[in-house]
Symmetry: C2
Amino acid sequence: MALKHDLHESDLDPRAREVLREIVLQHIDSGEPIGSRTLAKCGKFQLSPASLRNVMADLEDQGLLQQPHTSAGRIPTDRGYRFFINHLMTSRALSLRERETIEKEVGAASEIDHVLHQAGSLLSKMSDQVGVVFMPTLLQFAIRSMDFILIGDTKIQCVIVGVNGVVVNKIIDTRFVFTRDELEKISRFITIEFAGSTLEMIRRRLIRMTEQERAYHDQLMQKTISLGIEAVNDVAPFEHELYVEGAASILNKPEFSDAASLRKTFLALQEKEKLVDILETCLSEEGLQILIGSESDFTQVHNFSIVARRYGSTSAPLGMVGIIGPMRMEYARMAPLVDYLSRALSRKIEEEEEHGS
Amino acid sequence: MALKHDLHESDLDPRAREVLREIVLQHIDSGEPIGSRTLAKCGKFQLSPASLRNVMADLEDQGLLQQPHTSAGRIPTDRGYRFFINHLMTSRALSLRERETIEKEVGAASEIDHVLHQAGSLLSKMSDQVGVVFMPTLLQFAIRSMDFILIGDTKIQCVIVGVNGVVVNKIIDTRFVFTRDELEKISRFITIEFAGSTLEMIRRRLIRMTEQERAYHDQLMQKTISLGIEAVNDVAPFEHELYVEGAASILNKPEFSDAASLRKTFLALQEKEKLVDILETCLSEEGLQILIGSESDFTQVHNFSIVARRYGSTSAPLGMVGIIGPMRMEYARMAPLVDYLSRALSRKIEEEEEHGS
DNA sequence: GCCTGGCACTCTCCGCGCGTGAGTGCCAGC
DNA sequence: GCTGGCACTCACGCGCGGAGAGTGCCAGGC
């Protein structure tokens, strides 16, 4: 993060800015290092290669460009990309067609898991990068209802619906035997009693209730409390979900054309904990987040960039959605894409919320 | 399939059999073509390389061995592997430890989706190959219960539990407004009325019911039927599930060390339809299935082998579980592994079934 | 008749050297 | 301050040649 704002727009004269911009654009396009001759040929500068070389040398001194080896062209550094994104980039707005696709796909599913999955793979398809969708623990969100369904004599499925539409299913093995009747009563009681509370709050209240007198005498109440605690306890499997979609898209990227880096990259995407770490820290920030290379531990090691944005209802942010790709990616397209999708997602979720309440 | 039994055990004299066996074993171990000298050095034959060359030439004539190029050692052909598996292989029984691991992992989860997921990744881990778990459409299985839960005014979650323990959730958007009370009644009615029927049967009966007189007059009945039809209609998203776990394991295999074949393989594993096709055809056969290279369309193209077995209760097979890997894999270990796991899985499912009924 | 050592042959793999081309830095001149 | 010129540096591709592994075939021995 330290690098994020280290260079001001005014630190570069307009010509240098244009040169940097052109280099970034061309490199994003071709993936190759850009030389002074190539740059001169593009026609945007009325300068000879030699003059451009001087400018480029200056940019290299400022840490915005680098050479893979002496006598190769220049490629942008992380700082170069950062400067580009902060000061030089003009986002390319999404086409109507693209916006329609997003709206349609996001609107299609109704279960939130499906929606998120869908969003991830849509993002991957539209960006030709790896799409990620992160949904942190349900624990901090309020529930709308909690129902218990008889599956076997002592087996009960618990369906928890969050106010944000997240549905969590959990199968509970109890030591009591329940009848359908009882379960209906319990469901009703718990839903009425606890709608609007978070799982954590419910857990605490249930535990407090065990200490109350009434619980000793009322058998149904005992069962209710025991079942309720079972249900809220240990929702660990849902602590967070991370969908990584379209990992295969990196197969086409020239920077991963050799087997070794392909290998490394796939293994990196496998390590979801690290990704979760990053996305979790991003969660506190509003607006589009772009992390480039050295700006975070994860992206540094693998020379990735991450473009992500928070999504969720206004009442509570739900998670992060974004893309991961090589540092060399079309930020001008990725940024509005992620931005739009996360907004569409948020809208969808809010809609569900209103609709359901 | 044509090749599956094309060579009889007796078509090869004992010495040739031993040679073939040793070549297959060594090649499975090293991945390299095996030459006559290497073979002579292993100590199992009191023969000179020259003699072994003669034997190997015979085996090549019979289509059991092949040379990647002149003046390289030999590697087994599909037929070679097939002969090996049918006549030469001695399965290496699982260790107690391995069996315990399987029992523990399979026993751990309670929701069937989780169990299957778990089984897939366990298989992948233990075999260091790609694990696959296939669960075909729920349509052909009987249900145990069907419950409806109020999520929003016109939004209802339907929870269908199959006799085999499969739980399907579906969110329905209705045009009616339902109360909790009504839904409880409907759940109860449908479960009692239809437990033991397949979704297909239920759909037909519900449609027939719309034609009956009573349905016209009883408003609740109308709602019940409408909801029921919505629920059974179009369970397409659950038509089949295919979990492909541990695709990253192929990263270590020398046969996929170059970028091109890695790419090809990943894309192949992405194409789930083809895989589903194969597994679906295997579903009709009992016992362990081994498909090698040219024995099926899919494996032919990619030089894969598949080791899989049906799992499910005795009353109804549920799906296929197995591994996919390069033709050169340790069949002697894979076979008992897949076999044991599928049995463990079946046992677990039967248990659930008994337990739940 | 079967096994064996020997021999010529083939083919892959690896390292080497070289030329080419792209690109640079620096300098002198306009 | 821009420009052309020049010498220098690398990476890349190519051809070559030797080493090594393996083969097929043949003639001789038990």
